[in-house]
């Protein structure tokens, strides 16, 4: 089963119930499903100053207005975000969180962390089990082939490793994901990523620009936003896989 929450309010009781039901009823790889309209899941974290829920809310609002069923998720683990009820049933998927090359983190409280890694070399002890997950675990099954777009919304998620590889995005591509975006440098905690996210999903899912064009249109919006003083906050350093993929009309990938 799948219990999804609005992210703006998460009273402790709802949180506790969600965790209980999630732990009880959510197998790590529940059966994937195809929904109509197609699903889009965004995962957010809350930790000190880093509260990425507004980014999830922007993304959800835009894709929902474009015909997807969008969800803004908080208080989930990385393994849940990758499970049969989430990534494996999604047309669009994204995480906003602290990150680095080869991994992006999720936390709800700063005490319990999990991460989606590209492969076991980045996972603690080489273990891709819950609460973590590795994209490489899904390559042979191609169970993510219906995902049309993945967003890795954190610092250096697209920084090339020592051998020149974009680890997260190459792993996603090996899983059958049609397109993805990461960032090659630091990106700010602040509003630039929120503006970029809102704008990117408008241009890609509502207006119908392809993924690369939508990213550059979003950069133009960030550049001209008042109070940013023409500072992109790092979002100009997006790295695009599947540049010609179009996310309109709402549909699953190939």
């Amino acid at each position: 089963m799948r219990l999804k929450k609005g992210s703006l309010f998460a009273p402790a009781a709802v949180f506790a119930v969600a965790l209980f039901l999630g732990g009880l009823l959510l197998p790590a790889h529940a059966a994937a499903a195809v929904y109509s309209p197609p699903y889009a899941d965004f995962g957010c974290s809350v930790f000190n100053n880093w509260d990425s829920r507004p980014k999830c809310d922007y993304a959800k609002a835009q894709v929902s207005s474009a015909g997807y069923t969008g969800f803004s998720n908080s208080y989930l683990t990385a393994s849940t975000m990758m499970s049969g009820s989430y990534a494996q049933s999604d047309a669009i998927w994204g995480i906003f969180g602290h990150a680095g090359p080869g991994g992006i983190n999720m936390t709800a409280d700063g005490a319990n962390w999990s991460a989606v890694y590209s492969d076991p070399t980045h996972a603690p002890g080489g273990n891709c089990g819950a609460p973590n997950a590795c994209l490489s675990s899904y390559a042979s099954s191609q169970i993510l082939h219906r995902v049309r777009f993945m967003l890795f919304g954190g610092c250096e998620t697209a920084k090339r490793n020592a051998t020149g590889h974009y680890e997260l995005q190459e792993a996603a591509k090996a899983d059958g994901v049609d397109s993805s975006i990461g960032f090659s440098t630091l990106i700010t905690t602040g509003n630039q990523l929120s503006t970029w996210t809102n704008s990117f999903f408008y241009w890609s899912t509502v207006h119908g620009q392809n993924v690369l064009a939508a990213a550059t249109s979003a950069e133009a919006d960030v550049y001209n936003t008042p109070s940013y003083y023409h500072d992109y906050g790092g979002v100009q350093n997006s790295v695009v896989f599947g540049p010609t993929v179009v996310l309109k009309p709402a549909a699953y990938g190939n």
Binding site: M1, R2, L3, K4, K5, G6, L8, F9, L25, F47, N48, N49, W50, D57, Y58, A61, Q62, S65, S85, H98, W113, C155, R160, Y166, Q169, L186, I187, T188, T189, G190, N191, T195, N198, Y202, W203, V206, Q209, N210, L212, A213, T216, S217, A220, D221, Y223, N224, T225, P226, S227, Y228, Y229, H230, D231, G233, G234, S238, V240, F241, G242, P243
Partner: protein, 295 residues
């Protein structure tokens, strides 16, 4: 519990939450639309019409550009019959109309009708052939593109940067005027496909300004102030936090009422917190030292 029932429950939960929470989502439901600010910058006075804005965009995208691209490849043409203008909206330096069509996204300055930002969506690179034009060629193409559209680069020196955008490679050519080491509102920018040389982004960010004074706050002082400003925001205020600074630039900016400012922009991040550290952009007033953390 069935999945449909679970979905129904989740919808009820979401609905209940939203019913009592009127925060943010309404603002998120549309594209970025910053409404005009009440404290009026005189430069923001509207002196043109939406139709004039459309005409300005058409004048650019319908003007043939001499092909300097590899193999003489011609850029795709843009449909202009579907262009519509909306706004005005407040930008960082100017108030603008958005001009949007299937192939085009532009911002047109309401003060003087100049096209300040242009994205040619159907010209965006589709892949990387494995071979690239040279940086000199990229600069020549960008210069030619601006000249063909009457955009001057006089007295501005270009900087060419090879941009790795993953499965596509581009060149970004920037002409940024500086006075007393400060970036002033006089910039041209062109991004083009490194394989084909086809231009797909152009910016012309300019507005009147006064010659900025020399900064009273040094770059080192600005960085120190920025570091102090972020201590405690994303981790414990330890005795000796470590930082990395990935950007420091001095630039002219304008308040909402149009008064000119001189600011440092510093991008700083704690390095003693590992991946769980935030990166902040801190604005430091280059005359007074006052800091504002952009959040």
């Amino acid at each position: 519990m069935s999945k449909n029932l679970a979905r129904g429950l989740s919808i009820i939960v979401v609905g209940a939450v939203l019913a009592v929470t009127v925060v943010g989502v309404a603002a998120a439901s549309g594209h970025q639309n910053t409404e005009p600010n009440k404290a009026v910058d005189p430069y923001f006075a509207v002196a043109t019409t939406p139709d004039a804005a459309i005409a300005a965009v058409k004048a650019i995208v319908e003007t043939p550009v001499r092909s300097l691209a590899a193999g003489g490849m011609a850029a795709p043409t843009q449909r202009t019959t579907d262009l519509t203008a909306s706004g005005p909206y407040d930008g960082d330096l100017f108030r603008y109309y958005k001009v949007i069509g299937r192939d085009v996204y532009a911002m047109v300055d309401v003060h003087d009708s100049h096209v300040a930002s242009l994205v040619l969506a159907n010209c965006a690179p589709t892949g990387y052939s494995g071979s690239s034009i040279s940086p000199d060629k990229a600069m020549a193409i960008a210069s030619d593109y601006l000249a063909a559209h009457g955009v001057s680069t006089d007295s501005l020196a270009p900087v060419v940067v090879a941009k790795d955008r993953g499965e596509v490679k581009t060149f970004q050519v920037t002409w940024q005027k500086t006075i007393n080491s400060a970036e002033v509102p006089d910039l041209r920018f062109v991004e083009l496909d490194a394989s084909t040389g086809i231009v797909f982004v152009m910016r012309n960010a300019s507005r009147p300004y006064s010659t900025p004074p020399a900064a009273s706050v040094s770059a080192n002082d600005a960085v120190s102030r920025a570091e102090q400003a972020v201590i405690g925001l994303d981790g414990p205020a330890v005795t000796k936090p470590a930082f990395s600074v990935s950007e420091t630039k001095l630039q002219v900016a304008f308040s909402a009422s149009g008064s000119q400012q001189l600011i440092w922009q510093v991008m700083v991040r704690r390095t003693d917190l590992g991946q769980r550290a935030d990166a902040f952009v801190v604005t430091v007033d280059a005359m007074t030292g006052k800091t504002v953390v952009m959040q």
